[in-house]
C-alpha cells in the first residue's frame, strides 16, 4: 500500500458521549476522508459506547520537530504553573461553612 495519491493515513478521534471531548484512538488508511470515516466506524466504533467520530488526514496535522523537545525541558521546575501549587481548599471550605 503506497502512501500518497490513493491511500492516506487518517487520525481517528472518538467521542464517547455528546459534549465529551473527542479523544485520539488510532488511525486508518483510506483513499479519502469519507472512506476513512466509514472504516473508522467499524475499526474504533463497533465496541463500547460511541456517539461520534472525527477523522483528520495525518498529513494535515502540524507538529513540532522531535528536536524541539528542549523548548519544554524546564517545565518540571516551574511548579508554580501547576494548578496543584495553589492551596485553595481552606478558602473553599471556609466559604462553604459561611454559606450554610
Amino acid at each position: 500500500m503506497q502512501e500518497g495519491e490513493n491511500w492516506n493515513a487518517f487520525e481517528v478521534f472518538h467521542q464517547e458521549k455528546r459534549g465529551a471531548h473527542h479523544e485520539h484512538v488510532g488511525c486508518v488508511h483510506a483513499p479519502n476522508a469519507q472512506m476513512a470515516l466509514i472504516f473508522a466506524k467499524e475499526q474504533f466504533g463497533r465496541r463500547k459506547k460511541c456517539v461520534n467520530l472525527w477523522v483528520v488526514r495525518s498529513a494535515d496535522i502540524l507538529a513540532f520537530d522531535a528536536e524541539d523537545e528542549d523548548m519544554f525541558a524546564n517545565n518540571g521546575e516551574k511548579t508554580y504553573r501547576d494548578a496543584s501549587g495553589f492551596k485553595v481548599m481552606e478558602k473553599i471550605n471556609k466559604f462553604k461553612k459561611e454559606a450554610k
Binding site: 500500500m1 488508511h29 483510506a30 479519502n32 466509514i38 472504516f39 466506524k41 467499524e42 475499526q43
Partner: protein, 253 residues
C-alpha cells in the same frame, strides 16, 4: 386473523437471505483488499447473521418455530427459502461489493416498511436494526461511488458487476402466492411495491456514480429460491456452514 403460515414463510425467506448473504460475506474475512475494509466487511457479515437469528427467534417465540440454531443449520436444502442472488460464490470483490450494495438497499427498504407492520413483533426489530442497516448502505454507497471514479477499468468492472447482479437481485422480490393476504392484513406492502421503492433508490445513487441500471422490463428475474429451488452453490455452502454445528447439535455454545 393473520395467516401465520404466510408470515412464517416471509420471515424464513428474509432470514435465509440474511444468513446466506452473511455467510458468503464472511468468506472474505482475512482476504479483504485492505485490513480496514476486511474488518468492516466482516463486521457487517456478522450483523447479517444477527438479523437472521433475530427473525428465526421471532418464528420460534411467536409462531411455534424450532430453535434458531437447529433451524439455521439442520434443514435440508429444499427447505431453505433464500434467493439465488445470495447463493452465488463471491468471485471478485467487484461482484461482492455490488451484491452488498443491491442487497442492503433492498433490506433497508424492507425494514423501513416493517416498522409499521401489523405483525407486531417485527416493529421493534425493524427499529432496532435501522442504524445498523444505515451504516451498511453508507458503506456500500461509498465504495460504489469511489470505484466508479477510480478510472476506466474500475468503472467498467463495476458496470459489469451490476449487469451480472441485476437479474439475480430482482430475485430478492420473488412474489409468493400468500402475499396478497399479507398486503391486505398490512403485514407488509408486498414484493412488487418494495421492488419499485428499491429501484427508485438505487437508480438515484447509480446515476450519480455514472452506472447504467439495466432495464427492468427487459430483464428476466432469477426466481426459484422462495420455493426451494436453488443453485448448485447452496448445498456445498450449507455443508460447510453447518459442519461444526452438526458434530454435536445438542452442545451449548
Amino acid at each position: 386473523m393473520i395467516n401465520t403460515t404466510a408470515i412464517s414463510n416471509l420471515l424464513t425467506a428474509m432470514a435465509d437471505d440474511a444468513l446466506i448473504q452473511g455467510h458468503r460475506n464472511s468468506e472474505w474475512t482475512g482476504l479483504g483488499p485492505i485490513m480496514e475494509e476486511d474488518i468492516a466487511f466482516s463486521s457487517m457479515a456478522q450483523d447479517k447473521i444477527g438479523h437472521a437469528w433475530a427473525l428465526y427467534k421471532i418464528k420460534q417465540e411467536e409462531l411455534n418455530g424450532s430453535d434458531p440454531d437447529q433451524f439455521a443449520f439442520l434443514r435440508n436444502e429444499k427447505e431453505y427459502k433464500c434467493c439465488h442472488f445470495v447463493e452465488h460464490p463471491n468471485g471478485e470483490y467487484d461482484f461482492s461489493l455490488m451484491r452488498h450494495f443491491l442487497f442492503d438497499h433492498a433490506e433497508a427498504i424492507r425494514y423501513e416498511q416493517l416498522q409499521q407492520s401489523s405483525f407486531q413483533p417485527l416493529q421493534p426489530l425493524a427499529k432496532k436494526l435501522k442504524g445498523e442497516i444505515k451504516y451498511h448502505t453508507l458503506h456500500a454507497n461509498a465504495w460504489v461511488s469511489q470505484l466508479c471514479r477510480a478510472g476506466e477499468e474500475s468503472h467498467a468492472r463495476m458496470q459489469s458487476a451490476l449487469n451480472t447482479c441485476f437479474p439475480l437481485a430482482l430475485g430478492l422480490f420473488e412474489p409468493t402466492p400468500s402475499e396478497e393476504e399479507l398486503i391486505a392484513e398490512k403485514v407488509y406492502p408486498g414484493e412488487k411495491a418494495l421492488r419499485e421503492m428499491w429501484l427508485d433508490r438505487i437508480h438515484n445513487i447509480l446515476t450519480v456514480a455514472a452506472l447504467n441500471l439495466p432495464d427492468e422490463n427487459t430483464t428476466e428475474p432469477v426466481y426459484g429460491g422462495r420455493n426451494g429451488y436453488h443453485t448448485i452453490y447452496l448445498q456445498p455452502l450449507l455443508e460447510e456452514m453447518g459442519a461444526v454445528f452438526r458434530t454435536d447439535p445438542a452442545a451449548t455454545w
